[in-house]
């Protein structure tokens, strides 16, 4: 899926582990990222990218704006957290998506807007930022970019992603033989 045209790039808050890598790779496109010499790391293909699917605004009928973190590097076998804030004009978090290496696992650790409000309504206390914890499962540096959807008004019943990780490429088609 192509990137949203009204994409906003905002300064993000990242943990020290991830911040070191971000300074190095911030201008690197994600497609093709990863060292060819490390293409295989056990079960994981370290060059396969899980594409951006545009799910951050799923279910929001109108007025949803996408905010991107910019590429962030996660150390080999390391972890880091990424926080992205909604702009003040679009203060309500709708959802999120990523573009990332298959061996990275991204888990939502900040509050779910629906759960905070209760009863599927998001008009009690707006949640205006999102934090994900990213873990690398391979001996390779991984790159992830987080996209969040932000809106002025809430829409009930929008789905919220809680995690994203690739199916290990080197396991796909595995029939029991030597890998």
């Amino acid at each position: 899926m192509s990137k949203p045209k009204d994409l906003l790039i905002k300064p993000l808050r990242i943990s020290p582990i991830a911040q070191i890598g971000a300074a190095v790779v911030v201008a690197m496109p994600l497609v093709g990222a990863g060292a060819p010499a490390l293409a295989d790391s056990g079960l994981w293909n370290t060059t396969r990218i899980l594409g951006y699917d545009g799910n951050e605004c799923a279910g929001q009928v109108s007025g949803c704006r996408t905010v991107a973190s910019g590429p962030v590097a996660i150390a080999a076998n390391g972890a880091g957290s990424i926080t992205v804030d909604c702009p003040s004009l679009f203060p309500r978090l709708v959802g999120w998506d990523t573009e990332q290496n298959e061996f990275l696992e991204a888990d939502l650790v900040s509050p779910d807007p629906d759960q905070v409000a209760g009863f599927g309504k998001r008009d009690v206390k707006p949640v205006d930022s999102l934090t994900v914890l990213v873990t690398s499962n391979a001996d390779a540096v991984g790159i992830i970019q987080v996209y969040i959807g932000c809106a002025r008004r809430a829409t009930n019943g929008t789905p919220l992603m809680s995690e994203r990780i690739g199916v290990p490429s080197n396991h796909v088609g595995f029939t029991g033989g030597e890998q």
Binding site: M1, L50, G51, D53, G54, N55, A58, G59, E102, D112, D114, Q115, G118, F119, G120, K121, N156, G157, T158, P159, L160, M161, S162, E163, R164, I165, G166, V167, S169, V172
Partner: protein, 101 residues
Amino acid sequence: MLRVSALLGAVMSLTGLAATSAWANPCSKTGYGTVPNCQPQAQAGISYSGWETKGWAYYCSGDHPYYWRPFNEWNNNCFSVAENKLDEGDNLHKFSATITN
């Protein structure tokens, strides 16, 4: 690009609505019976790139805000869906699932 959509059985009051013909009715499930005063609530479709796993949280809303476990249906042909009852916990409105294509 692959897409999957969910339809939840939500209950509270009034009369239930019939599910659209393209779906099985999430308010009745083989082996579980039929939920009274149940309203099917279609959730937004979500996209997948391929060979990946995502976790999702859905919420019943409106005047039928309670999700009646395990009454859900899916419009897809290449996904596996596992409900996460521990993640739903004591939240009466939430349906949580891990979905892999």
